[in-house]
């Protein structure tokens, strides 16, 4: 048991890696989501085609395949990434493709009448997007973004398969070294769940702040 508490430190190190991956992956995913999501709504065919290809490719192939590719195959083409870089790249691009559809859907969910009000007020395309459509669409995206972030968190466990020392990986190490299976796995399940709760709580409070006023509640 004393031994076990020592290995807890190892698992917490893994938790830090998992958090790091989740944060960096989310940032990349967010950037890709807006680029590709708005790309799909572009007036220019080339942008639309690029965005669609990106989205379909990364949603179509499994995250595992993408990860193994980034880690084992890309280096053969001369692009060598650290496990962390490969993990962030695969996770960010994968979740970004899903989130791009959220961005597109949210923008499209803003009623036609808001676009028409923009035209009637003579706002330019980008002005209308920036000041009228996106602020409203953001609120629509937020809850789904929260779900996407949790999906990303869960997907980080897969990086253990490319030897990145995240939570799941450290649990495996502890398991080999101590011969105990129940403790490490139970511990990391709880840690993952707590992290997921933190994400959904964070997103919900952000949502509440942004929604203030729009729903008629006094600001």
């Amino acid at each position: 048991m004393t031994q076990w508490s020592g290995y807890l430190g190892l698992i917490l190190q893994g938790a830090l890696v998992t958090i790091e991956l989740t944060l960096m992956g989310s940032v990349l995913a967010l950037i890709m989501a807006f680029l590709a999501g708005m790309g799909r709504l572009s007036r220019y065919f080339v942008l639309r085609a690029l965005a669609t290809a990106y989205i379909e490719f990364f949603r179509g192939t499994s995250i595992f395949v993408q990860l193994f590719w980034a880690y084992f195959v890309l280096p053969l083409a001369g692009i060598s990434l650290t496990p962390l870089q490969a993990g962030v790249l695969a996770l960010g691009l994968n979740v970004g493709a899903y989130a791009a559809e959220v961005v597109r859907g949210a923008i499209q969910s803003i009623g036609r009448e808001q676009y028409e009000a923009c035209i009637a007020l003579n706002l330019g395309r980008w002005q209308g997007m920036r000041h009228v459509i996106l602020p409203q669409a953001l609120l629509v995206m937020l809850p789904t973004f929260g779900n996407n972030a949790i999906e990303l968190l869960k997907a980080t466990s897969v990086v253990s398969l490319i030897s990145l020392a995240d939570l799941t990986f450290q649990a495996q190490v502890v398991r080999s070294q101590t011969g105990n299976t129940l403790m490490p796995f139970t511990t990391i399940l709880v840690i993952y769940f707590v992290l997921a709760l933190v994400i959904s709580w964070g997103v919900r409070s952000l949502e509440r702040r942004m929604a203030r006023g729009i729903d008629g509640v006094r600001v």
Binding site: E113, Q114, E116, A120, L121, N122, L123, G124, Q127, G213
Partner: protein, 261 residues
């Protein structure tokens, strides 16, 4: 005689196979108050939306304030208008919608100041000063900080009117601005419009099912049916002595349904 501020010449417009406007022509004089009436689906909203460039036309020609709306002259040639030309033309026209279309994430003040600041580069202080005057005019000065969701329908519509006026258009388009309102709230909006008609010399086009208001408000009434103007004239002529059978039928139905003419 001054030149017409709007000249619509034989325009047509279809949605799919369905022809909504069919060689429609009309002219509007500067400062004129025009009411467009007619049965549902007759194309009243469509012509307003075309003037606001929310729909494109399939054929025909429109001039607004002496300039082509959907065309532009380049080296003596008439080309389809580009976005820049349309933006310039839109400065002359404002529109108020049936469902208000306020920006729900911005307070009343920001709704009114947004467009002047962005499209005309007016400084915030100046934009807010003008906005307060307009909000005062529509009786909403005390709600400048409120969010749209906190307003009643009538209040929203008055803000929407102020918002459209903030760009100082020469022409204002009103599409059934009271028909989404509870009966009790209709009057407060109509009062604002009466005031507007009396105090400014803006050209105003009004689509409405409120025959009583159309009668009092308009200098001239156009009766639409199936994408054409079937009859036009002074309010008294149209409402008291309609010549066309279709106009008579329409007015009879409306009266039977309990509306005052």
């Amino acid at each position: 005689m001054p030149a017409p501020i709007i000249k619509v010449d034989a325009i047509s417009k279809s949605f799919g196979a369905f022809k909504v406007l069919d060689g429609l022509s009309m002219q509007v004089m500067p400062g004129e108050k025009l009411a467009l009436i007619g049965p549902s689906g007759s194309g009243k909203t469509t012509i307003l939306r075309i003037l606001m460039t929310l729909e494109k036309i399939d054929g025909g020609h429109i001039q607004v304030d002496g300039e082509h709306l959907y065309h532009m002259e380049r080296n003596g040639q008439l080309l389809p208008a580009d976005e820049r030309h349309l933006a310039k033309m839109r400065q002359k026209i404002g529109m108020v919608f049936q469902l208000f279309n306020l920006f729900p994430h911005k307070c009343v003040m920001d709704n009114v100041t947004l467009a002047p600041m962005l499209t005309k580069g007016v400084a915030r202080a100046a934009a807010e000063k003008r906005a307060m005057e307009l909000l005062d005019m529509v009786g909403m000065a005390d709600k400048a900080k409120a969010m749209p969701a906190q307003l009643s329908g009538g209040q929203k519509q008055r803000v929407a009117i102020a918002r459209a006026l903030a760009l100082s258009p020469k022409i204002m388009l009103f599409d059934e601005v009271t028909s989404a309102l509870d009966p009790e709230l209709v009057e407060e909006v109509l009062n604002v419009m009466r005031k507007l008609a009396a105090e400014t010399d803006m050209t105003m086009l009004l689509v409405t099912h409120e025959m009583g208001f159309a009668h009092d408000f308009a200098d001239r009434v156009l009766f639409f049916d199936r994408g054409r103007i079937v009859e036009e004239g002074k309010p008294d002529e149209i409402f008291r002595h309609p010549k066309q059978e279709r106009t008579q039928g329409f007015l009879k139905k409306i009266i039977a349904a309990g509306h005052r003419v």
